[in-house]
């Protein structure tokens, strides 16, 4: 019997085994020449990550949580979003909308898992590694989500940082805007304390005058929108008429709120929802008056649903006309019925008044909750505004080379906490590059890993590898109980359920080294790399495509053989 590199040649009948047993190997047979298609590994973009407002690699977070590597999960999130305990409560979670799991047992509770990661960050005090502070001090004006995220990013880039906040406590909208039933104060305080433990100076209780800002060195403005949008009708400055945001701030400060037994809340955005739900919790019988229909409401869908569960009345297609004083210190609100006309600039049907449909209600208070706009008067010299936002260039610079802007006031993204966090981080990196001449690109996890922008679709997944089990959802307090106070509406998932939920995640389009390809390859052409991952032995891969068919999550693809 001759054996040349495993290729066996039988010379006599004595060389035959007594039954069919391989005597040599087949590696000599370079079956790779048979193929015209070949597999290759390429991660696609999961639909959740594509939709994520902070740019989070959600699958990487899920994989770490599934494995119980909580510190790693925090680090994955922290690189794009230092505040998962906040976004895990307050984010409108557009990531969950396109989740491929929806069609197979229920979408993954991504936000609830993120919240669990955030709570772990605070409980275990997980912090990023920090370089020494080698650069000049920078200042951040405003301690909302954009300001705090920028401060953390600047500190991680080696800057000493001071954050300036006018209010008694840091957090901005997080502390004084979002109601406690959505975001408890202690969570905001814990995140601010965590920021301070990174060596970031946080000064509160003093509103910087323009000249004080002028005296600061390099500064990032993250001042948000400080002014409520006016109604533009007679009587809106009467006693008994309130602005939404200051009212929410007063509620968050625990001050007595002079609203009385009945209130009319004007608007259909998140401020209106936050106001009406907060007033309900204070015992006021408040109604939402909105000039379009439920479909056009800009408020988060979940907020609207929860408000309805709590018994909040909504009146649609009505617009305020005037406000007049009424006997007994009350106000008389005159409204007109509307109907939807042609689409306006926002793409929504424009409401137009119906002639002769005016009517009036008498209430103890009217709350204007049409949203907020930039307070241009508060801007320092050299910082211009246009179209309701601070004018910035591609490098997030205002007209003054040492003044940068981020968050709502810069108006780059939508007006959510998560987008403010993203804006603060990106602005911080741009600011660092401008100040030091050293470009450190902001992390963009999926692109950094070379993931293809193509989105992994449900039909690409191999469902045989997944059980069709239902989602683990966080506990939600009953409508009656929760609307009696400011306790959180939504509870925590808990570590076990969070891990189970993370395990349910398909990890669409992402190789998680599950070994399915490795096990199924009929030619042992898929090999494990010493550092993890796989390599394909193209000299032996016949191009059968079994690995591609079997891959549970569309992380291997076929292309024409080279």
């Amino acid at each position: 019997m001759k054996d040349v590199h495993g290729r066996v040649t039988l010379e006599t009948r004595g060389d035959l085994p007594p039954t069919a047993i391989s005597l040599g190997g087949t590696a000599w047979n370079r079956t790779g020449s048979w193929k015209f298609l070949e597999p290759f590994y390429k991660n696609l973009t999961p639909p959740c990550a594509h939709a994520c407002l902070t740019g989070l690699d959600i699958v990487a977070m899920m994989s770490a949580v599934e494995a119980g590597r909580w510190d790693d999960a925090v680090r994955v999130v922290m690189d794009v979003n230092p505040f998962p305990a906040i976004t895990g409560r307050a984010c409108p979670h557009p990531c969950e909308q396109p989740c491929n799991r929806k069609a197979y047992g229920g979408g993954v509770s991504i936000r609830a898992v993120e919240r669990q990661v955030g709570d772990h960050k605070l409980a275990a005090d997980v912090r990023p590694e920090l370089p020494p502070t080698v650069h000049a001090r920078v200042h951040v004006v405003g301690s909302g989500p954009a300001g705090l995220a920028a401060a953390v990013a600047l500190r991680r880039l080696g800057h000493p940082v001071t954050v300036h906040e006018a209010a008694p406590e840091a957090g901005g909208l997080l502390r004084y805007g979002i109601p406690a039933y959505r975001l408890p104060s202690e969570v905001v305080r814990a995140e601010v304390a965590w920021v301070q433990r990174l060596g970031i100076e946080v000064r509160t209780g003093h509103r910087l005058a323009r000249r004080e800002i002028d005296a600061l060195g390099p500064t990032l403005l993250a001042v948000g929108f400080g002014r409520s949008r006016p109604l533009g009708i007679p009587g809106e400055d009467l006693r008994g008429v309130h602005d939404g945001l200051p009212l929410l701030a007063a509620i968050r400060r625990g001050e007595p709120v002079p609203v009385g037994g009945t209130a009319a809340v004007i608007g259909g955005g998140n401020t209106a929802l936050d106001v009406v739900r907060s007033l309900k919790r204070l015992g006021t019988d408040a109604t939402v008056w909105y000039r379009r229909t439920a479909r056009e409401m800009p408020a988060f869908r979940q907020e609207v649903e929860e408000a309805k569960e709590e018994g909040v009345p909504f009146e649609f297609l009505v617009a305020p006309v005037r406000i007049e004083p009424a006997p007994g210190g009350r106000v008389r609100l005159t409204l007109v019925r509307m109907e939807l006309g042609p689409k306006d600039a926002s793409g929504r049907a424009k409401p137009v008044p119906k002639a002769g449909s005016e009517f009036a209600v008498e209430v103890d208070a009217v709350v204007k909750a049409l949203g907020e706009v930039l307070d241009e008067e508060a801007l320092p010299a050299g910082v211009a505004a246009a179209d309701g936002k601070v004018v910035t260039d591609d490098a997030w610079r205002t007209g003054d080379a040492e003044r940068f802007a981020a968050g709502d006031c810069a108006g780059r993204f939508g007006y959510t906490v998560s987008e403010a966090v993203r804006s603060g981080r990106l602005a911080a990196h741009a600011m660092h590059a401008q100040l030091t001449g050293e470009a450190v690109p902001a992390a963009s996890p999926l692109a950094d890993q070379g993931a293809d922008p193509e989105i992994a679709k449900f039909k690409m997944l191999h469902l045989a590898h997944f059980a069709k089990e239902g989602a683990h959802v966080p506990p939600v307090a009953a409508a009656d109980a929760r609307s009696a106070g400011f306790d959180p509406v939504e509870g925590a998932l808990g570590t076990d359920a969070a891990r189970a939920e993370a395990a349910r995640c398909f990890k669409c389009g992402t190789c998680v080294e599950c070994d399915v390809c490795y096990q199924f390859c009929p030619d042992i052409a898929i090999q494990k790399g010493p550092e993890g991952g796989y390599t394909i032995d193209l000299a032996h891969c016949k191009g059968c495509g079994v690995c591609v068919e079997e891959c549970p999550r569309a992380a291997i693809h076929m292309r024409k053989s080279s």
Partner: protein, 413 residues
């Protein structure tokens, strides 16, 4: 009988059914893996063995499965890794294993199986009939037909040695109820004696993750036939290996066996040929005065595969007539032992070749008593030439009125 050895002296006598004897044999052989599915009349083998295996002091596993097909698959897998594997079945269970019987033999795996002969359905029957095991004639398994509980116990142990020496599977066969469920005194050999006779299995090749190889893969026309010829050669050598086992077993226990047993052949003119438990009844018949006067001998065929053709030719050369009792039928031809024997006798020269008389009786468990066997002998003595067709005996009901058979067309004649 020769003097028993000291180890044999440590043996003890127990009252066991054929099935219990089979179980004790497998246990004394230190079987490592047992996998089986219950079927009457086999079930008490694995019931007994399950209890025994629970007391095994060696690594042992009793694997429950959902069918006989899986039971044999488990045995094949276990045996392929070099362990000693055992199973037992009957009738439909054996038929269900059929494909895997080829895998076991073709894979050269020394599995030992007890088949309790039971009639094939339909009609449903649980009683004795050899058609089940004989239907597996060409699978490459050795077949040994036993006639007593002691025979069963000893042969299960010896079957492992024959199987492992030649890398072929061995089937030990016993009759339903008459043997499987009938209790008699059995000498249980001491464990030390069996250990001396049957060392732990040393597989010449095995499934081993440390030395990976592919098993049962594609075998091209260039090689297939020679590999099959090796199976044939090994199975053929089993007759000689059995003789060596019997000699050593006799030395150790004082009990002697042969692949073909014979009585009163010295001056026999007519020889009765039997297998299984019918043989002991037949022995009573030929020991009777009239049979001695008629010079009737008896041959019991114990080994059916490999078929001991040369031995049978030696024993039967010059005899006038042989009468074969078959508790089975190859439908459309003859009783199976009869046709196999005729084939063997064909090798004798003219003048030495006996006339062969074939009888089918006792199917589906109908008793084959002394009178039935006497009928076979008397019919054979009375007829100068055998019937060209198979002779069916023992009917309880009288024959129906004869229906005239139309003449065959000219072209067929």
């Amino acid at each position: 009988m020769s003097d028993p050895t000291p180890a044999a002296a440590a043996s003890r006598t127990a009252i066991l059914t054929g099935n219990q004897a089979a179980a004790h044999g497998a246990f004394l052989a230190r079987t490592q893996v047992v996998s089986a599915y219950p079927i009457t009349p086999q079930t008490t083998i694995i019931e007994t063995l399950a209890e025994l295996m629970a007391r095994a002091t060696w690594p042992a596993k009793f694997v429950n499965v959902e069918s006989e097909h899986s039971a044999m698959a488990v045995c094949i897998g276990a045996s392929a890794t070099g362990t000693r594997a055992f199973t037992a079945t009957s009738a439909q269970g054996l038929a269900l294993m059929h494909e895997l019987l080829h895998w076991a033999a073709g894979g050269r795996l020394p599995i030992v199986m007890v088949d309790v002969n039971r009639a094939m359905a339909p009609g449903w029957s649980i009683w004795s009939d050899q058609t089940d095991s004989l239907s597996q004639r060409d699978t490459g398994w050795a077949q040994l037909y036993c006639s007593s509980a002691q025979d069963v116990l000893d042969h299960v142990i010896m079957a492992f040695r024959m199987a492992e020496t030649l890398s072929v599977p061995v089937m030990v066969v016993e009759d339903a109820f008459v043997l499987s469920h009938t209790a008699e005194a059995v000498s249980l050999p001491a464990q030390a004696l069996v250990d001396a006779f049957l060392p732990p299995r040393d597989a010449p090749w095995k499934l081993d993750t440390k030395k990976p190889a592919a098993f049962g893969g594609l075998l091209s026309p260039d090689w297939y036939q020679e590999v099959r010829q090796d199976l044939h050669d090994s199975l053929t050598r089993l007759e000689g290996e059995a003789a060596r086992c019997y000699a050593e077993w006799e030395r150790l226990t004082g009990r002697s066996y042969d692949v073909v047993e014979s009585w009163n052949l010295a001056d026999a003119r007519t020889v009765l040929v039997t297998s299984g438990t019918v043989s002991s009844t037949a022995l009573d018949v030929i020991e009777s005065d009239w049979a001695r006067r008629e010079r009737v001998g008896l041959v019991q065929i114990r080994m059916f595969r490999p078929f001991p053709a040369a031995r049978l030719r030696d024993l039967l050369a010059g005899v006038e007539k042989v009468a074969v009792i078959d508790r089975n039928c190859s439908f459309g031809h003859h009783g199976i032992f009869f046709q196999e024997l005729k084939s063997a006798l064909y090798g004798l020269p003219d003048g030495q070749r006996p006339k062969a008389y074939g009888y089918v009786l006792g199917l589906g468990g109908r008793d084959i008593g002394v009178e039935a066997i006497e009928d076979v002998v008397r019919r054979t003595l009375a007829r100068a030439t055998p019937d060209p067709e198979t002779t069916w005996l023992g009917a309880v009901l009288p024959a129906a009125p004869a229906v005239p058979v139309p003449p065959a067309p000219e072209s067929v004649r």
